[in-house]
């Protein structure tokens, strides 16, 4: 198998890029932290990381014209990964702080945990397990969690959750406070997750390797 060589970590001026860059470098990839259109689309895959608030993130993405770069690298068919806020941003809109439109690449919206019930602990921080769903829309054998056993633990830290419109996109679910939410999606060349593979020990690192070592 050919190893992709260069991965763009999309820089929209708010995330902790360091940990994702470290993880990819340890795996032997060439990593470019960048907000430049041509650099992003010329890479062999891209990651949209994320920590911070949804409205602030969308503002930065627009100012840096990154929405075009993200859409273009996705439509080129190269592996694309969204993590945490970078997962949420792919959807239509979020009600974090104020209603804000997202990138609209996947149908669905981002909702607040605290509106679900009074007892739920928010933020949802810590190690929780992910339950795989039977997938119907796997393309080109792109199935990053294929080798994982069901009910593996990953590290989460977030106050909002994604509600995809299309159930077919849901790859895994996770329970918090009695509520099952979508913890990752898989659609053709897009894998995006609420948890942090780069902070989930060796198992998490292996997922990243699985995605880009194809």
């Amino acid at each position: 198998m050919n190893k992709p060589y260069k991965i763009a970590v999309i820089d929209y001026r708010m995330s902790n890029m360091f940990s994702i860059k470290n993880a990819l470098t340890v795996l032997g990839f060439d990593v470019e932290v960048t907000s430049d259109y041509s650099t992003i689309v010329s890479c062999d895959g891209a990651i949209l990381p994320g920590v911070g608030s949804f409205p602030e993130a969308m503002k930065n993405i627009k100012e840096l014209n990154l929405d075009y770069a993200i859409k273009d690298i996705i439509s080129s068919g190269k592996p694309f990964v969204g993590i945490c806020l970078g997962f949420q941003l792919l959807f239509d809109k979020s009600d974090e702080i104020e209603d804000t439109f997202g990138l609209g690449i996947l149908p669905g919206e981002v909702k607040s945990f605290s509106e679900l019930n009074d007892k739920i602990r928010v933020p949802h921080v810590g190690w929780n397990n992910i339950k795989k769903k039977q997938m119907t829309n796997i393309k080109n054998n792109f199935d990053p969690l294929m080798k994982l056993k069901d009910q593996e633990y990953f590290y989460f830290v977030h106050s909002f959750y994604v509600k995809p419109e299309d159930n077919k996109d849901i790859y895994t679910t996770t329970e918090h406070g009695g509520h099952n939410f979508c913890s990752s999606i898989l659609k053709e060349n897009i894998f995006a997750c609420q948890f942090h593979p780069e902070k989930s020990g060796e198992k998490g690192i292996r997922i990243l390797s699985e995605i880009f070592n194809r």
Binding site: N16, S19, V122, V125, W127, N129, Y155, H196, S200, G204
Partner: protein, 285 residues
């Protein structure tokens, strides 16, 4: 299934060294923090906590290079505390490779800093540390500077205020118990867990596995931060861990003594024990 109990080794750092005190005072040098961190990662730690214990003395956090080295080897969340006063301090610690910061002293005088920090970095990045000391009248007061200065704030009402202002987590340290191995203050732990909805991490007092079980059995606790139990285990299993920097008090290391009230245990042992007693923990394969 849902969230597991987070087992968080706490590393108090002075200059280049991991140190450990009793009641956050009387520091002894134990070794290189990065080596302990790596051992804890391999043992299945769910997160790491680094505290610069002399940051307030120097007016800033000096852990940046230790953070960077750790983040290259350890792929679990890292929280860093000590001497964090403004947005730039947080930014530089996150850039060094930390995932969260823990703040105490600077938010006591300026609670609004919690709001501005959580607005800028997201609330889940901001941990507020509360150092509690029981008063003669039975009340609990929040202290700063490793339990040296009283803030005058009552612990539970301060915890609620901190939550209101946007903190993502609370780290509650029982200063009286810290390093003593006498067990946790179960009463206060219970009060704080029911007073706030944000995750609570408890630190200070673990002398053995049973203490941790007693604490977690009846509480909806998010995590436990542990120092001595794990540090002594790490030293026992890695005698020749490092060439120690000749800074600070290393007599303790040379003497091979451990506190008799501390029954050292590894993270793996602790987790298996908790799982046997129906506390959900993540086991590292």
């Amino acid at each position: 299934m849902s969230l597991t109990l987070r087992i968080i080794p706490r590393l108090d750092i002075k200059g280049p060294n991991l140190v450990k005190g009793v009641h956050l005072e009387g520091l002894r040098v134990l070794g290189k923090p990065e080596s302990f961190a790596k051992y804890y990662y391999e043992q299945g730690a769910d997160e790491l906590f680094y505290q610069d214990v002399v940051a307030s003395l120097y007016g800033r956090n000096n852990l940046h290079s230790i953070i960077s080295r750790t983040a290259k080897e350890v792929f679990i969340p890292l929280t860093v505390g000590g001497g964090i006063r403004n947005i730039e301090d947080i930014s530089s610690i996150l850039k060094a490779g930390a995932d969260k910061v823990s703040i105490n002293t600077s938010v006591i005088g300026n609670p609004e800093f919690i709001s501005s920090a959580s607005h800028t970095f997201g609330s889940s990045t901001i941990v507020v540390s509360i150092e509690a000391i029981k008063q003669p009248d039975g009340s609990y007061i929040a202290f700063t500077d490793n339990g040296r200065n009283s803030s005058g704030k009552e612990v539970i009402s301060w915890a609620k205020e901190v939550e209101q202002l946007g903190a993502g987590e609370i780290l509650l340290t029982f200063v009286d118990q810290e390093g003593s191995g006498k067990g946790f203050d179960l009463m206060l732990a219970k009060q704080i867990c029911s007073a706030v909805k944000i995750p609570v991490i408890i630190h200070g007092g673990a002398g053995n596995k049973q203490h941790v079980l007693d604490l977690t059995k009846h509480l909806s606790l998010s995590g436990v931060a542990i120092a001595s139990l794990f540090h002594y285990d790490c030293i026992l299993h890695n005698r020749q861990l490092d060439d120690y920097e000749e800074e600070g008090n290393i007599d303790f290391l040379k003497s091979n003594r451990v506190l008799s009230s501390i029954e050292s245990t590894s993270i793996k042992e602790l987790k298996s024990f908790l799982i046997e007693n129906n506390i959900a923990c993540r086991i590292n394969e």
